[in-house]
């Protein structure tokens, strides 16, 4: 099924022929140079390929806002596994090959095990969901993700009564993720949600964006998207999902506990110690805009935190 585009005014990067042509040429040259340098003869760099996903249906949630252009979503990334600069991920994930891939599901589930990505994805219908993404650094985007609810996946493996939290882990492989050779964070990157947050219908496991497979720099092949939390909660390139009894450790909280809490819900009223979170700049905009409570998803998720002190539980 074709993906219905909501905004006719949006110009797809693929429609801008000259740039596309020269980007392709650049990719081709980079691939050639890479092959020469690394002797990777015959290996097609996965990052260069843009593969359309089949059978994507329109999902429940559609932010009625202009989509951030594909080129911005895929060139301005925080993915420290590939370096700490915003343009490091697109550059250094070029030769990352997310295939084959397997995901371990363990802990408080009746059917633990390690599954290939194909087995993980097989029963799920892919849907497009347009979410706002609010980074803790005060910039935001609107991203048309492709994925399926995390809840649907978790139910398949039958969580037991001991499943109070869900812990996630990114691939640890410094050879393929050169940023992991730096000690800027503890590796592997880990994240976590409460079981209620994980089971919430908004919480998405994404396998692509703009109707195509997930670019490496955005967390191929499988990433989390929790739109009401700061971006760093949406862990990328997942290899393990564990259902656990106790609140699991999370990478940025380990790094700077004073600045990054377990919950990290988007909240304009709770400042980051070094900057206000009241406003944000949408990528592509000149003026800042007010940040919305729970990133505009308060109606859907506020009840998860009823009675909770959100200043203390930042």
């Amino acid at each position: 099924m074709m993906i219905k585009r909501r905004h006719q005014s949006d110009v797809r990067s693929s429609e801008i022929t000259p740039k596309d042509v020269y980007m392709e040429r650049r990719r081709f040259m980079a691939a050639g140079a890479g092959a020469l340098l690394f002797g990777a003869v015959g290996a097609t760099p996965a990052a260069a390929a843009r593969t359309k996903l089949d059978g994507v249906v329109q999902g429940l949630y559609q932010a009625d806002e202009e989509w951030t252009p594909y080129d911005d979503i895929t060139s301005y990334n925080n993915f420290y596994e590939f370096g700490t600069g915003k343009d490091d991920p697109i550059r250094y994930s070029r030769f990352f090959n997310p295939s084959p891939w397997s995901v371990t599901i363990d802990g408080a589930v009746e059917k633990p095990g390690t599954y290939t990505i194909e087995d993980i994805l097989k029963p799920h219908a892919l849907e497009e969901r347009v979410y706002r993404l609010r980074c803790v650094e005060r910039w935001s985007m609107v991203v048309p993700w492709v994925g399926f609810p995390l809840a649907d996946l978790l139910k398949r493996f039958a969580p037991t009564s001991g499943a109070k939290y869900v812990a996630f882990e990114t691939l640890l492989d410094p050879e393929r993720m050169p940023g992991q050779k730096l000690g800027v964070l503890e590796w592997p990157y880990v994240e976590g949600l409460t079981i209620d947050e994980a089971m919430h219908p908004l919480t998405l496991l994404a396998v692509g964006l703009y109707g195509e497979t997930m670019p490496n720099q955005n967390g191929a092949p499988l990433r989390l998207v929790v739109p009401w939390k700061y971006g760093f909660k949406s862990i990328k390139s997942i290899v393990r999902i564990s259902l656990v009894e106790k609140q699991p450790p999370t990478s940025w909280n380990i790094s700077t506990p004073r600045e990054y809490g377990f919950y990290s819900n988007v909240n304009p009223e709770v400042d980051h110690p070094r900057w206000t979170q009241a406003t944000e700049r949408r990528i592509g905009d000149f003026f800042r805009r007010p940040t919305l409570m729970f990133n505009g998803y308060a109606e859907d998720v506020a009840n998860l935190y009823a009675g909770m002190d959100l200043v203390k539980n930042y």
């Binding site: 915003k86 910039w139 700077t256 400042d271 070094r274 206000t276 406003t279 990528i283 000149f286 800042r288």
Partner: protein, 222 residues
């Protein structure tokens, strides 16, 4: 006569060639920024990129200015002093552009928010202190002001630039999220440049002390 002629030639070289060259080179980062901004080279978040770019060049020019005196001493390159004022003023110019970019592009004259930043956010407080301390130095940078203040007082006042150098590095270090490698490189350079002055001054004091002792009348042995 020959010496006078070489001195005059050197003077011409500095005035007519070297100084305009340094001036043009100091404008190159700004030209580069304009080029990047007009060709989409600043990426998805051009305001942030512009701010970072100007901040880094402000710090680099501060460091270049702080390096003049050690370079003169270590390499015996006395004439470098002729470029110090210009480089210092360029450091100030890039600091001003950095600040302007923050006020205009980032905050768009939201004075309430800017004031809140200055008093609440330590890294902005520190950056602001660094900027404010440069203002009296710029105001007293003319030959007439040097004469009016007198060499010693002028020199003492201009030691404030050391504080700004440290403030610049601290401002950068406190701003980054986790990857402090780059600010640490700048911190190391500033530490070397300031450390050099401390070591040099104390060695000179020591040498002077020894010199005074040597020239003092030898005490009579009882």
């Amino acid at each position: 006569m020959g010496a006078a002629r070489t001195a005059a030639a050197r003077e011409r070289l500095i005035r007519r060639i070297a100084k305009p060259l340094v001036f043009a080179a100091s404008l190159a980062p700004l030209a580069w920024l304009v080029w990047l901004a007009t060709t989409g080279g600043l990426g998805a978040n051009p305001i942030e990129a512009c701010n970072r770019f100007l901040g880094e060049w402000a710090l680099r020019f501060l460091i270049i200015t702080l390096a003049i005196t050690p370079a003169r001493i270590v390499f015996g390159a006395g004439p470098l002093i002729r470029f110090r004022r210009m480089l210092g003023l360029f450091a100030f110019a890039y600091v001003c552009l950095h600040l302007t970019s923050y006020v205009v592009l980032d905050q768009f004259f939201d004075w309430g928010e800017i004031w809140a930043d200055i008093v609440k956010r330590n890294f902005i407080t520190v950056g602001m202190i660094g900027f404010v301390l440069l203002v009296p130095l710029v105001a007293t940078s003319t030959n007439a002001m040097v004469r009016r203040l007198g060499g010693r007082r002028w020199r003492n006042l201009h030691r404030l630039v050391y504080v700004t150098g440290v403030a610049g590095v601290v401002h950068f270090y406190m701003m980054v999220k986790a990857d402090v490698r780059e600010p640490l490189v700048y911190a190391a350079i500033v530490a070397v440049l300031l450390g050099f002055r401390i070591v040099y001054a104390s060695r000179r004091r020591l040498a002077k002390g020894r010199g005074a002792q040597a020239s003092a009348p030898t005490p009579k042995t009882p």
